[in-house]
Structure formats: structure tokens, C-alpha cells
Amino acid sequence: MRLLTHNMLSCNIKGVSKGFPLGIEVAKLETKTVEFNPQFLRHSFPKIEWKAFQEAAKTLGVNDLPEQVEPSMLDDDDFLRRFHHALLEIHLEEGDLVCPETGRKFPVAKGIPNMLLNEDEV
């Protein structure tokens, strides 16, 4: 699971009002190279919750993303490459996603988060 996916997942347990962003507990990470595609990054940027993304990246050991962003940065090659790496090249292989409200953990095993809810949670 990569950070673009993390940026879209939330805890949807019944009654939870603030299930986003999920915390991350890292047990194992993997990095795989993906072809750099500035156009896709510009296209994806408006949909990204930047604060959640930047903090999640820090949890995965990526500290070179700015806290504040503005659309003009999308013309800066250096920024785009850092954005690309954090968004698409780092995989959380083992660990947990944690609901910010309830602390409920969603385990990630072999790169696949298990977001299934129990009967009493829906």
C-alpha cells in the first residue's frame, strides 16, 4: 500500500466522525521505482489532503516534503520528484493503520490493509 492509497482511506466504523487520516505504525517498508510522470502528479495534486500526506510521509521516514504547498510548486522539478517518490514509490508492507478517533487498528499484511469491519462496527 502506497501513500496515495493512504490518503484516500478512512475508518468508517459506525459513529466515528473523524476517521481520517489514519495513523501509521510501520513494521516493514519497501521502495520500488516508478516511472516519473509530472503530468500525473499535477493531475493528482488537487485531490491530495496535503497535511495528512506530509505527516504520513514523515512516519515513513520521508522528511523532505514542505509543510505548506501551493500550485506554483508543481513547476519545480525538484519538488515534483520528492512528491513522486513519497506518493508512489514507498510501500507499507507490514504494519497497522490506526483510526484517529477510536484507536482501532487495521492490520497491513503483505502490503494489503484489511479494512473489513466487524458486524458490530457497521
Binding site: 500500500m1 496515495l4 484516500m8 482511506l9 516508478v34 500525473f40
Partner: protein
């Protein structure tokens, strides 16, 4: 990638090892899947450079096809971990990066999930009535541009009306009709359901 080559790659994918009947687990055959996905790209430009979600991805057929056609990001959702494990192995063999999430597709309507294009072969609802329409309802919430989906031809009028009137689709169009052969997969299926007519739909939002 050429259509022939796409079909051949999809034909080599490992599919459901022990299909779970209640989840309507059968793969989209390579012939149909390759044409469906090829058309989405060559006629409409909905795949290459786009973000794609495969709802009920099973062993990954449609999502893998999207990756092979140049999608920039593909995420597959399925309830069944065994299928997802197989899907991941298929990706590893082809050196494809696809993300997977184990979840109930019905729960995705409430999330921030948002992609350009949704592709799916939903459960036709032969086990649980209305399952395909639940998938379609979710797909229309998370797609920003288009949805490609398969539905039984016998439900054509219903699908069109529900999509346009209840689920907020802007357009709903049958691209072609095909036959889905479930014979070899569900040996005990009622006879008349073995070979069914299915529509490939394109919905826009």
C-alpha cells in the same frame, strides 16, 4: 500494447484457486477483459495516465489490464484475501505496481476514495439480489470521469433507469453485448444460467 498481446498476457494470469460461490467469484475471460479495457483506452482515453479503481478485483484481471495499458495508479478492492493474494502474485510476475485493499465494496461510498476511472465485473446478483447495482452506486461516487461495468443484458432497462435517475450518472451507454460462459466454473449452476448475455456499459459522471 496491442490488443492481441494484452489478451495473451491476461490469459496467463492465475485465477481463483477455490472460488467462493457466495461472492460470485469467476474471472472475466481474457478475450472479454482485453476488449473491454482496450476499448476504454483506444476509444475513450480513460486508462493511460489515469488513476483507476477495480471494484471486486478478484485476481486482478481488469486492474492488471489497466496497468498494462499505461494507467498511472491502479487500486483493487476485494473482500477476499485469497483472491487478493493471487492478484498480488500476478502483479509481481508482470512487474506491475498495483495497490490492494481488503474491504467490502459497499462501504466505499462513504470514503475519500476518488479516481478517474472505475472498472469492474461486479457480482451479477445471482446470489444476493441487487449486488451489481450496489457496486454501481459506489462506482458512481468514486469515479471522476467514467465507469466500465458488466451487467446481465436481461436487466438493461433497469440498469439504465437506475443509473440515470437514481444514481446520478450523466450518461449510460451499452458498448457491446457479449456472452458470458460460466459453465466450467459453476458445475451445479441452474442450466439456463450457464451461458448468459451480458452488456458492457460505459457510464459517465
Amino acid at each position: 500494447m496491442k490488443l492481441k498481446q494484452l489478451e495473451s498476457e491476461l490469459g496467463h494470469l492465475v485465477q481463483f484457486q477455490s472460488p467462493k460461490i457466495e461472492l460470485e467469484q469467476y474471472p472475466t475471460g481474457a478475450h472479454i477483459a482485453s476488449r473491454m479495457m482496450y476499448m476504454a483506452e483506444s476509444n475513450f482515453g480513460d486508462i493511460c495516465g489515469k488513476s483507476i479503481a477495480d471494484l471486486g478485483c478478484g485476481c486482478g484481471t481488469l486492474g492488471v489490464a489497466a496497468s498494462l495499458l499505461g494507467a498511472s495508479y491502479v487500486i483493487g478492492f476485494d473482500q477476499d484475501l485469497a483472491a487478493l493474494d493471487t492478484a498480488q502474485e500476478n502483479c509481481r510476475d508482470l512487474e506491475i505496481d498495483m495497490d490492494f485493499v481488503q474491504c467490502d465494496v459497499k462501504s466505499l461510498g462513504l470514503t475519500r476514495i476518488s479516481v478517474d476511472t472505475v472498472v469492474m465485473n461486479p457480482p451479477f446478483g445471482t446470489r444476493r439480489k441487487g449486488a451489481d447495482m450496489e457496486f454501481l452506486s459506489v462506482a458512481l461516487k468514486i469515479a471522476r470521469t467514467a465507469i466500465y461495468s458488466l451487467h446481465k443484458s436481461s436487466t438493461r432497462q433497469h440498469v439504465k433507469r437506475a443509473a440515470l435517475q437514481d444514481l446520478g450518472a450523466k450518461t449510460a451507454e451499452v458498448l457491446f453485448e457479449l456472452r458470458f460462459d460460466l459453465k466450467s466454473l459453476y458445475k451445479f449452476h441452474k442450466k439456463q444460467e450457464l451461458d448468459i448475455a451480458v452488456d458492457l456499459w460505459r457510464f459517465t459522471v
